[in-house]
Amino acid sequence: MTKIQEIFDLYDSMERKNIMLSFKGDMSTSLLTSILQIIENKLDRFGESPRVKKRIFNILVECLQNLYHHIDQPPKRAGADTPSVIVMVAKNVSGYAIITGNFMLDGNAHVLKKRLEQINGMTQEEVKNLYKSVLADGKMSEKGGGGLGMIDIARKSGEKLEYGFIPFGDGSSFFSLNVKVNQ
């Protein structure tokens, strides 16, 4: 296969999966702002309901800021020397999907996995109460969130979070997250 063919294949694969936006690279605050603006404009153009629009925007803010704050160095053999992430927003028949992927150190991945298992094992009402209790306990991480991000994502999504960790055996894992927002 020629490289030129690969470009089309990549485009075609994204087109089939109804990707509205796709980015791979390192996450900066200005890029984060631009992605939010692009998606907000698109949702306006689609005439999306304010409720769905706000939920997608909120989830996207949390996902992008997770990528910005919690990104770890990828393993050397992954071929990148700066931390690199992937973000995609897709629209399908039932709603939207916000998809992210990033490298994490195994220790951090382990903590996140526990939190995700906890959240996915809860009803919506329990997720709501967990949010309230974590908010009320007053502890704050240095980034300010204090562990509320994933809880808020699950609360706004209303669906179980789909996720996976691919271990690289060198102390790091690739974390993938798929957050759905139904219309």
Binding site: R51, N58, V61, E62, K132, L135, G138, G145
Partner: protein, 127 residues
């Protein structure tokens, strides 16, 4: 003591804290990456205001969006006001939300449950 007047941006809210009227407004979007930097001066302002507060202090919250990084900082603002209220000067917190934004109403109810001040929920058509 000086008033605070900060123009809003794509990620930070408009802030209007008025010493003489005792009316404080936080309006717009609060989604900065580092909320602590943004809210620290606001919390400090309320600290000095609390030394000699008005008989009635009103906080108008009119948020379109806020991230989880802001949520604890916003709670800190409320806790400072809660203290003024406990000390005997009245504090009112008016939580505005757009009529179709149930999530924002719920967020206000979360704070209302944590803070010992009765929030007034104010429904508006659009900010």
């Amino acid at each position: 003591m000086e008033n605070i007047r900060i123009e809003g941006t794509a990620k930070t809210p408009t802030v209007d804290f008025n010493r003489s009227s005792g009316v404080l407004v936080i309006r717009g979007r609060s989604i900065p990456e580092n909320s602590i930097d943004f809210y620290k001066p606001l919390v400090e302002w309320i600290d000095s205001y609390a030394e000699n507060p008005n008989d009635v202090t009103v906080l108008n919250m009119q948020l379109e969006y806020f991230n989880t990084s802001s949520s604890k900082c916003i709670l800190d603002v409320f806790k400072k006001l809660e203290q003024i209220n406990k000390n005997g000067q009245e504090v009112q917190i008016q939580w505005h939300y757009e009529e179709e934004d149930e999530d924002m109403l719920e967020a206000g109810e979360d704070y209302d449950a944590i803070i010992d001040i009765d929030f007034k929920m104010v429904k508006v058509v659009e900010f």
